[in-house]
Symmetry: C2
């Protein structure tokens, strides 16, 4: 790698990080998702407009990959499995309905416009995942994370992530073998459940011991790096046994997940996510070519998929039928696609499952759902909780702390 | 970048980080320099023994480069310019003598074995820099950072770094133009002093305002990433005006340097250093080919350069003539080469100034000086401070905290 190449890569990194963080900060200020801002930054820097990014730079692609790995590692670290179990059955129902309905609604439409099964299944799958981060942030801004709706949404979003990862592993197998075989699906589901199960059990059994040993040996800082090595090792192993890379990162997070909110590992992981995840989102945004979308064929697809994405999750809210929670609020809370959806879309583009037109359409759908959720969720929650003026009541610091999430 | 390539790079990263951190931790446990452990890990993984590293992987090379940038950014952040000024004149004398003598002693020897001026000057320059980190750690372990010797050593080490960076910029120019012109040297010194001067003044003027603005806007986390962007931007600018890349990173650190020990930026930067710097040291170690050194020509060179490296810094201790400090202790404290020396050596290898034999010899010299310093410094300090049993007296936690530095 020549000095010129190092210099060029430094410039790419400077441009990407500066634009992504600045736009993210502005979006955050206006109570919008940071991820949305980062995507938009990429979109503006990409071929749609400024065309200043080199999307083939190996170091940048690798850093983006590290960003996704760290992101899913963090999601795993934050999963709070025990708490998740409490919201239990309702969350599971909401999640399963929320994964099944988008696919079931999307397939007939996609067949009708002439797409074959693999592509249609991929597009449907992209619409299944819920962005935990955004939903949490909106609820936190309304001081409603501890509400019944909040707990169900969070639980369902985590299960959504797991289901999404399994679906992604099925897609990986589909790309590798060219088709979907029932036997393979069963194998992948079995492997995923086994893999995650082993990690969760290992976490329960070893977690305390690991942390005590680290404390005894006084190697906290080395441990952070080792945790990072563990996350990428698990990603590599997951890929090796035929699962999606990020399943491993998520599982690694589950092993080291703790009940406390601010463990040193989480804080440090978060810094890496802050630094690398924007590279992924910006490059994902840069791969969007808006000119590819502004065609008579694709515009209707964006509109119809957006409607499916919203309706399907609102319907999923009915999964909370045996609780007092507002089904509408739960459903609306599940609307934002986001990280996992974007990972799906990037995967499809990289593997050649879809071209730039459909990829761009999918990213736009993800962006629109993410953009619409905060106001919709606020409305839905306002209908049930009389104290409607959350923002005036709460401490400024709370908002700021959350904005920075 | 294909999936296979991503997977291969992940494996490289896992192997490098795991080996480097493990060896670093073991060295740290035996009160040796972590950097030494990381170098050794690379040496073992490299062509000398296991030969499992791909030293041409672009993402890995780039991550190593980021590691060096973050390392020098951290050195800048830790420079405490105001405090440095207090140890002032003595530190400056020690530093200047410590930079001049190694070159003056090395040149005649190197000419005598038939090397030309450029190569000889490069080798001499590699022997000039002192590793602040190691010296600080040893002194901290003895609770002697605040001693007169400690202050002079630290001040001199920082000035050493600055002088070293200027020399590296001169070397950069020498490589680019093929020779050393007095006019160019003057230009580079002028540019460096101007660049660093502007950054220090800008830091003094803007620092408070920047931090207040960040606090007001509540964008602390985004700010960390922006600080990182700032560091790589300055590196890029420094390279653009003909200075060494890392001069920019160091200057960026000076701008954001604060008197407090544990600012959020420093903590976060340190995490990045912990993660990326080992990649640099391990790849630097991997580039060493011990078989290239085990020759009748190179072994004497290693011995003689090591003697020069040690004697020259002990002589430099005399720079503290107008103080009550032990000149021997100050001199011994300046012995460890380290980060900057390694950066020099890597630079020379990359630019083709030296071949693998001389590069390997230089890294061995750096390793030997680093290895010898802790026991020598402890002896020298014991001679002056009657309380000789530091280790038994101090709190275990202190040692642990320092080991993790």
């Amino acid at each position: 790698m020549s000095e010129t190449l190092v210099a060029e890569t430094l410039v790419q990194l400077i441009v990407i990080l500066f634009a992504a963080k600045l736009t993210g900060m502005i979006f955050s200020h206006f109570k919008q998702s940071k991820v949305l801002g980062e995507l938009l930054a990429g979109l503006l820097l990409g071929p749609s407009l400024l065309n200043v990014l080199n999307l083939h730079s190996e170091p940048i692609i690798f850093l983006a990959e590290l960003g996704v790995i760290m992101l899913l590692f963090e999601v795993g670290l934050e999963s709070k499995f025990d708490e998740l179990m409490k919201s239990g059955f309702s969350a599971l129902m909401v999640a399963i309905i929320g994964v099944a309905i988008p696919v079931l609604l999307a397939l007939p439409y996609l067949f009708s416009i002439g797409l074959d099964f693999n592509v249609a299944f991929f597009i449907g799958a992209t619409l299944t995942a819920t962005s935990v981060g955004l939903t949490m942030r909106v609820l936190a801004e309304m001081n409603k994370i501890q509400s019944l709706e909040g707990k169900i949404i969070l639980g369902a979003a985590v299960i959504d992530d797991i289901l999404g990862l399994i679906v992604l592993s099925i897609l990986t197998d589909m790309v590798n073998t060219g088709s979907i075989e029932p036997f393979n699906i069963a194998k992948i589901i079995g492997l995923s459940v086994l893999f995650l199960g082993i990690m969760i059990v290992a976490g329960k059994l070893l977690e305390e011991k690991i942390f005590n040993l680290v404390k005894k040996l006084k190697v906290e800082r080395t441990f952070i790096v080792m945790a990072f090595v563990f996350a990428i090792s698990m990603s590599y192993i997951a890929a090796g046994i035929g699962l999606a890379t990020i399943v491993g990162a998520f599982a690694a997070g589950l092993v080291l997940e703790r009940e406390e909110n601010e463990t040193p590992i989480r804080k440090r992981t978060h810094i890496l996510v802050e630094l690398f995840a924007p590279i992924f989102f910006a490059t994902a945004g840069a791969a969007v070519n808006v000119f590819a979308v502004i065609t008579p064929e694709i515009i209707p697809m964006v509109v119809i998929l957006t409607i499916i994405a919203i309706v399907s999750k609102v319907v999923a809210g009915l999964g909370a039928w045996n609780t007092k929670a507002s089904k509408l609020a739960v459903g609306v809370g599940m609307i934002p696609r986001g990280e996992v959806g974007l990972i799906f879309a990037s995967f499809g583009l990289q593997k050649g499952l879809v071209g730039n037109d459909i990829y761009s359409a999918l990213v736009l759908v993800i962006m629109i759902t993410t953009f619409l959720t905060p106001p919709l969720l606020q409305k839905a929650m306002d209908r049930i909780y009389s104290a409607s003026k959350y923002f005036e009541k709460q401490e400024e610091d709370d908002v700021a702390a959350i904005q920075e999430m």
